[in-house]
Amino acid sequence: MGDRVAAVVAFVVAAVLEVTAARAEICTEAARAQGGPLAGGTDAADFGAIPEACSGTDLGLRLRGTALVASANPDFFGAVVATSTLRLRQRLTRSSRTWLTLAADLLTYRYVVNGPVDSQGFGFGPPTVGLHRALGEWPRTATAVYGRALLPLDTARSSGVRTGLELGLTGRRQLGTTGRAGVQGGVAMIAPFVVVAGQTHTVFEPVALLEAWFAPRPRLGLSAGLSVRAEVSPDPTFLTLAARVAARIALRHGLAAAMLVEVPVTGEDRTDLISAFYLGWASSE
């Protein structure tokens, strides 16, 4: 166990120090179908979603729906949330290993049934802004660290603000020599905090993602994996373990479409289903 920890620490340190700088083959074909993990989960914009390990410049639109049905009598409760999210990823310079992300929930529709009363509403926001830095890139491995901020702009709130920070490490590794399969994922610590009426509620939630990807054809990528999220403070709680499957199709002219389905299988989060459709365009730079 101790050796493994030491190895991981050494890997991270080495990455940070940019011990190696070989150009990663795994990141060179942005238009190929097996891009980084699709942003999932239920949090706002891309907050808490493990991002790509490779740099790039692209623009994507996500249409996400989540459903929660707690129909056990007498506690009927249900919620359906539909969100459209726009996300921009911009490499700082053409060859830069640093890139920015900006994401925002453009329009969120919520429908919540609480026993015999229900309500619905639309909201805009919140946005996130992130800074990502590739660490080491090997021919078959890419890693990056990132920091992301959740900005306190959400028109669906009645009072106060919710903001937060996220720090994470993400990686991607090709398996075999054909470039048609690999694994990707990452870990992050998110710390959303709510400031309402002078009171601050901060939680620390580690998240992790691990999925395998496979590209049976150059323009078709498939992936499957698990995501996990917990709260470590102030109330240690296992929030969710979700299985996820995704498919991505690379179209012409840098366009791509993707689909993600996540099914939470255990945890306190009562969400039953998350599904998302993605449409994106990637620069060929």
Partner: protein, 979 residues
Amino acid sequence: MRRAAFLVVTIVGALGAAGCRHEGCVGGDDGHCVPPTACAALPTATCAGVAELAVFRVADATARAPGPKALAAVGDFVLENDRLRAVLDAPEHAQGLAPSGGTIIDLSPIDAQGAATGDQVNGISQAAGLLPRDAVHYETWEVLDERLAQTSAGAYVAVVFRGHLEGDRRVTVVTRYELRACEAGLRVRTDLYNGARDPNTLSLTDGYFWGDRTLLPFIPLAGHGFRAPELDLLHLSRAWREWPFMAARTQAVPEVAYAAVPCNRAVAAGFNDPTLSAAGVPLAPTLPGDGLSFERFILAAPGPGLSAAVDEAMRVRSFVHGDAPAVTVTGRVVTSAGPLDGRDGRAASLLFYEPAPGADPDDETRRTPRTEAVPGPDGRFHVKLPPNRLYRVQPYAFGRPAAAPSSLALAEADLDAGDITLARAGHLVATVEDRPGERATFAELVLIPVDAPGVNAPPPSLYGLFAGSDPMLGPPHGGSPAGNRALTTDGRFDLLVPAGQYYVYATRGPFASLDRREIDLGAGEEAAISLLTESLPDLLPAGTLSGDFHVHGGASYDSSIPDQDRVVSFLASGVDVIVATDHDVVTSYADTLATLGVTDQLIVVPGVEQTPNILWFDVPGQTFPKTVGHFNFWPLAKDALAPRNGSPWDELREPGQMMDDMEPTYVGAGVRQMNHPWSDAKLGRDQGFMRMIEMDPRRPLTDPGYFAGNVLLRRPGAHFRNIDFDVQEVMTGASRRDWLRYRAIWFSLLSQGYRRAGAANSDSHTLTIERVGYPRNLVFGGHDRATFDRERFDADVRAGHMFGTNGPVLDATIDDAKGTLQRPGLVEFAPGDKSVLTVAVAAAPWIPMTEVRVFVNGALAKTVDVSASFAGSDHFGLAAPRAVVSIPLDSLSLPPTADAWIVVEAGLHQDEPPDDDGDGLPDLPDADLPTRPPNAAETDLSRFDLEAVAPGVWPAAFTNPFFLDRNGVAGWQAPGLGP
């Protein structure tokens, strides 16, 4: 780039600063936060009343305002100034729909002498949804006493309650009730924080539990006013409306009006219904980590009518929301012959509304009611209305429009609307004697129109509510006169009556003679009549007392009849023993009995009807959780210093647990009674336990997997099983349909060996909702009022030593093997080979009867026609017809050498209706529901007079069972359910 960054930083900073602004407990309850003063825009003027400002905890009975609904108990909090007394129950004193205290239980205006004028509030509590999990549960409190630390203008007293939603402690709720000097209402602010992980529809509202038949809620919205859309529990959001204020008026003394004005929102949102209104924030998803607050001003003003409360509500709105100051409209209501006879404000009222758009300005579905006024005894009225609008004024009298509406054009100046002329009322003076030449002390007068109302004629009502009484001499659920009924304490009636042709009845219950006069009253005319209603000698078996073990008064949340009228109605019904069974509160009527000097004429046994209202009990396959029906318990002692006068809190308890809870409270040996076992649910609240658990009388309770059987036979608490009640109501009120169903359930229990006494009770709530003593029980065992022994009486009730009746008098005996006459009861005896069932029947001459029925093991075994003895009697005479029937037991096809049970009935013919819906219970066709027979001039008059006095009654009496031990084996063996 820098500019953009600066912009982002500025926006983020501003938003962050907004979150940092301290604002009460919207960000959660940290134990220190305090919601700020609500309705801060209301001016805090200095006034002479600052000296009266007080906050204290209740220590004695003086804190209770007049009125049967006042419930202040030791430990509760009182906020009081020179205009208002508010009582907030301590967190540990749960009442009504709330799982804890911290709610408003009493709200009374204070008069010029500093005395509370009366309370009509059942309860005002907070919730964030309709399910039990969303009720607010307060746990702690703190008192803020700022009388000295502030200037007199800023002086206030407040109580802050802290808690959470019942089902989720992460959703915190803090409410501050504040009272300032000279203000007619409480400033209330509730802060809610959603610390849960999911977005939720947290409809933070005050729940106003009107309970039906008490306060009439009103909202000034097009198509509403006193009208309310039908509530559908499955789609409650459809009933959600937004309104500038809500008000309510009573229909009985003490006359109080209430209003609630939102302060931090321009409008309040919720639903409005005579059972329950919810007023709070609009329906919207509340995100995790989000909070909201709701500020309102809840005020009380002296009645009668709505106007005083609406006037104050508009004044508050003008300060808080900048509404244009209301202007005053004055005027006078007169009759075509001169001044109005106001008669306690019952004769007339005025509804002010903005005309409906379109061709019909008076269209009730589109006009916008604004306020209502009840003229004073001199006919004068004044109301406040928003300026610069057109209005219509509709006068009402006796529950109907009393003149064509007139129009008002209101500018910004006060307006004298002049005289509003109504048609004159008639005047009826009636004297009632109980012996020729001797005026009766207590009697009831009943009026019905000579001609049956037309099918399309709208019946009289209170602004569309509570129709059913014709004529409507007063609000149907208030004091006398109420609906078409009036009471007297000296044999004299002096009543205003709408012009018309009426039959006037004088009655003193089903064991006294009936008298009737016909009057034809023109507008402004007076009729003077005299009627005689004599007790019928020897009608009742010796040693019996008649008792009604299920009656309600104004202390019940669904009644507003004043105590004096309630007691007079008991006396006028000829009942000897009343078990006072108000919902969830112990009542004794001791003060009223003493005031009337009738402690020797009526025995009142304090009891309670435990009436759970919180939906919680899970029944497989049902969409909503359930409540467990209603159960009566007596004898109890009223403790005016205790919450609910000493009755245990009954929510979230199964019947067996309720029985456990009641054990320490009895004064003597307790009686446990299951009420109306198959009664319908009312707004989701199940009233009948057997219906709720879907009991099927055809199935043995011991069937494996039978949910109802499992529930009935299980022991949810320490001692009692859910089936361990002593008595079951077989008749409740007048409903013929219900009687047949309750009877089927009782028969099923008896056949399975669950020996329970059968009772017949009225469940009367007001003068017009079920008549006291119809039906009642005749308890035998050598009882009389003068030497009343409650313990022995209750023992006879538990033992089934009684007959139930809504008119016919029945006595049945069987001579046993030793030749001893046995009356019905729950103890078995061995009959002889030649034993005979002897049935004696009698009735007042106005109560029709045709047959005697004998049931063996639940099946009809014999019918004997006795109609010849009862036909042709003079309804208004004194001769009570009688018949005696002797039936040898061996003629009843008893099962050979097996134990059996027998129940005898007498009354009008009754077939066994079909079971249309397959639930095992008879479904009486609508066509068989008793209604007014053809007019007196036509045929089939036998029920005409009974229907007038006791609508819906289908004459019937029943015995409790005889348990026949015939098989020679020790003990009685239940026959089991039939095929």
